[in-house]
């Protein structure tokens, strides 16, 4: 009897689900390749976290729009003092967290004290180091005092790392995120999906979607089938090798745009023989960038000659600093004392662009006598070996943080580059707010790291989204990590 009843319930649920789908609903199912390790964007570096929660569940004082510009978020307006050291934010009134608690200036203060605390696990803690104090003027006004001017401050406030959390719920955000955003968290079936639903009490303009499900599908063939079968409505980033399946199919739209992912041949500058500039120059000459772009990204990547996004107004085209020239590479190697080349290992994380680039680079390096042994690693092992222990010769990795050239000023970063002049320039850049001056400094930095061939500069990752043709409002470019749902809607 009980069985019959539950069967009846299932049937009803099934019927309801079918009719909902027929009504071309206000729900969306998004396929994404990587499942986030947790759901708290202020306590982890994984891009997969932001893909699910950034601007959907959590919001910051400012937000970054699809053009990379800073827009008001929870702060409706702000003023900056003339010396660039004091920012006063006017907060939105009537904002509540998803658990019903109200949002006010105390939450802002709590959030930034948590980021800057000694035991903070924020992945971008260094970006917020200039904050000297956060003062609550009244419940809707908060004042930040900086220890030095910071040209990126408003942008940094808009990152997923600086979203506002509440003292009541911050502890549990990793598993049950509570934010102020237009969608609230419903459930997370580990290994399968995360479900979000529209936040009825949202303070701003309500999104068109009422429900969003993120399904985690790591395998390209499976995701292809899920898209073709209509099990998912789209994906923000589809493997470029199979993109041709959807190009020209009127049921789908393919959105090719830019990201902030500089893909580099990470080189251990602190280790022989890579500490020798001539060896690094030789490797730069040995790289056939176009072949790597064609082979690893199917032509969708954009060539870079330095660690900077090509779509950024400060970008300097330095792709010809060390043009592809195997003979020059051999000459430089001989000059450096390696006439017969040398052997090196390359540790590759489990992402297609890295594994493919690695194989192609190994083949190109073999032409000039550099024998590369490829070591495929899992993410945890890669993070430990390369990023933490710096136990590597070469690697291929994409740095997806926007405007992250500052990593070259950190001698303890994994590629072990220590250049006092560059560190001074970077400090000057951080302290400068004038746009023209910033551009000049940023370009000087780009030139230095390109000429020093700190890493092999390969390409800027493209974002290749595949969506149902009846969906609108998805971001074509990805100026910041995330899949922002607020503008997505079904049209007929």
């Amino acid at each position: 009897m009980i069985k019959t009843k539950s069967l009846g319930l299932t049937l009803t649920a099934l019927l309801l689900a079918t009719s909902a789908a027929l009504a071309q609903s206000t729900e969306i199912r998004i396929g994404v390749a990587l499942e986030p390790p947790a759901l708290d964007p202020t306590a982890g570096a994984a891009e997969a976290i932001d893909v699910v929660v950034y601007q959907n569940v959590f919001e910051g004082l400012t937000r970054v729009d699809q053009n990379g510009a800073v827009q008001p978020g929870l702060a409706e307006s702000w003023t900056v003092s003339d010396d660039g050291l004091t920012y006063t934010f006017k907060l939105h009134d009537g904002v509540t967290f998803h658990d019903g608690t109200s949002f006010d200036a105390e939450d802002v203060k709590f959030t930034f004290e948590r980021i800057l605390a000694e035991d903070s696990v924020n992945a971008q803690k260094a970006l917020y180091a200039p904050i000297a104090s956060v003062n609550v003027i009244d419940p809707l006004t908060v004042e930040f005092t900086l220890s030095r001017p910071d040209g990126m401050f408003l942008f940094n406030l808009g990152r997923g790392d600086a979203v506002i959390v509440a003292p009541e719920s911050a502890e549990n955000n990793a598993n049950e995120p509570i934010g102020t955003g237009p969608f609230h968290f419903v459930q997370w079936d580990r290994g399968s999906r995360v479900v979000l639903e529209q936040n009825g009490a949202y303070w701003g303009e309500k999104p068109a979607l009422t429900k969003a499900t993120y399904r985690f599908i790591g395998d390209t063939a499976t995701l292809t089938n899920a898209l073709l079968a209509g099990d998912v409505d789209g994906t923000n980033n589809f493997a470029p090798e199979a993109l041709a399946v959807f190009e020209g199919n009127p049921q789908f739209k393919v959105l090719v745009g830019s990201t902030e992912g500089e893909t580099i041949l990470g080189t251990n500058n602190a280790k022989e023989p890579f500490s020798d500039l001539r060896v690094r120059q030789a490797m730069a000459h040995a790289l056939n960038r176009q072949e790597i772009i064609d082979g690893a990204t199917y032509g969708y990547g954009v060539a870079i000659g330095t660690h900077f996004a090509p779509q950024h107004p400060y970008y300097l085209d330095l792709t010809e600093t060390y043009p592809y020239d195997p003979e020059a590479a051999k000459a430089l190697l001989a000059e450096a004392g390696y006439p017969d080349g040398f052997s090196a290992t390359m540790k590759l994380p489990p992402v297609a662009y890295a594994r493919l680039s690695g194989q192609i680079i190994a083949s190109q390096f073999a032409e000039v006598g550099i024998k590369v042994e490829l070591i495929n690693t899992e993410w945890a092992q890669w993070l430990e070996d390369v990023l933490t222990n710096k136990d590597f010769d070469l690697t291929v990795i994409s740095h997806v943080e926007p405007f992250d050239v500052g990593i070259y000023a950190d001698p303890n970063y994994y590629f072990g580059y220590n250049n006092a002049d560059l560190q001074a320039l970077n400090e000057q850049l951080n302290a400068t707010t004038d746009d023209g001056k910033r551009k000049e400094l940023a370009q000087q930095i780009q030139t230095i790291i390109s000429e020093d061939a700190v890493n092999g500069y390969l390409f800027e990752l493209a974002q290749t989204g595949v969506w149902n043709a009846k969906l609108e409002g998805m971001w074509q470019n990805s100026p910041i990590e995330g899949v922002v749902l607020r503008d997505i809607r079904w049209v007929d």
Binding site: T224, A242, A244, E291, G295, Q359, Q364, A366, L374
Partner: protein, 282 residues
């Protein structure tokens, strides 16, 4: 076994010749392939079969025929090494069980049963997950699964022989268990082991392809047929040829080995044809 036997069993001839062809193809790749397999030329990728690249080129412009040659070698090498592990450990265990009986036999049978109770691929996944993916670990994983198979075959064959008069005579003459096993039991079960070996070889090749396909076997830049399938699957809808070539190669190798194994069984011991042996699991 002689030529007359082979003539009387045409399927054996076909199986052996086909197996030998594939094995030769693999062996030749040690010294020569039409193109070096690690040579990547992106500009010539996704070519169909033609006079230059007989089986076309893959997603990185590598010559498919060269890859198949090298992949076949990996498959045979992994499968054969796993069979050697299985025979090397399993046969002595099986003989010991038959010769000593009692507690030894009980222990061997129980260990075999426990190993059999786990699906072989699950054991293989477990081992390669613990020790890291590589061709060597795939050999160990598949080899461990082969041990109880050969232990059972050896014990079953030896038990049937052990009741023969000449074995009793040897025992009366004062030979110990070890001597009887080596001088009387082992030579008489050799045909069983060889037949089982060909079957396990084909299963090992399948298992290697499976492990490489899910990323736990051979790692690039080395190649195997399973790895080629894995690389090809995401573009199956656009370039099905890349999946068909290694897939067909696996099918043909396994069919060749099975025909050869069946033929060997018939040719070596006509009685087995009636009784049948069926120890192949997987």
């Amino acid at each position: 076994m002689n030529w007359r036997l082979i003539r009387n069993h045409p399927s054996l001839l076909i199986g052996l010749v086909a197996t030998a062809l594939f094995a030769l193809l693999g062996l030749v790749s040690l010294w020569w392939t039409p193109f070096p397999i690690e040579q990547i030329v992106v500009a010539r990728r996704f070519q169909g079969p033609g006079p230059v690249h007989w089986l076309g080129t893959d997603n990185l412009g590598r010559d498919m025929f060269s890859l198949v040659m090298s992949g076949t070698l990996t498959s045979f090498w992994v499968g054969a090494a796993a069979v050697v592990i299985g025979i090397g450990v399993g046969v002595p265990l099986g003989l010991a069980a038959a010769a000593w009986g009692g507690a030894v036999e009980w222990l061997v049978i129980r260990i075999s049963d426990v190993t059999f109770a786990f699906p072989s691929v699950v054991i293989a996944i477990l081992i390669t997950t613990l020790m890291g993916p590589s061709a060597a670990n795939a050999i160990i994983a598949i080899g461990i699964f082969n041990i109880p198979v050969f232990a059972r075959v050896a014990r079953g064959g030896a038990l049937a022989i052990a009741t023969q008069d000449y074995v009793s005579a040897a025992r009366l003459a004062g030979l110990g268990n070890v001597a009887i096993s080596v001088r009387h039991l082992l030579p008489n079960i050799m045909s069983l082991i060889i037949v089982q070996g060909t079957i396990q070889l084909s299963l090992g090749i399948l298992a290697e392809a499976g492990l490489s396909y899910i990323g736990l076997g051979t790692q690039p830049p080395a190649t195997s047929l399973g790895l080629m399938l894995r690389d090809a699957q995401s573009v199956f809808l656009i370039h099905p040829w890349l999946s068909i070539v290694p897939g067909l190669a696996i099918v043909l190798i396994v069919i060749a080995l099975n025909i050869a194994g069946d033929g060997l069984r018939d040719a070596m011991d006509p009685r087995l044809k009636r009784e049948g042996i069926n120890h192949g699991a997987g």
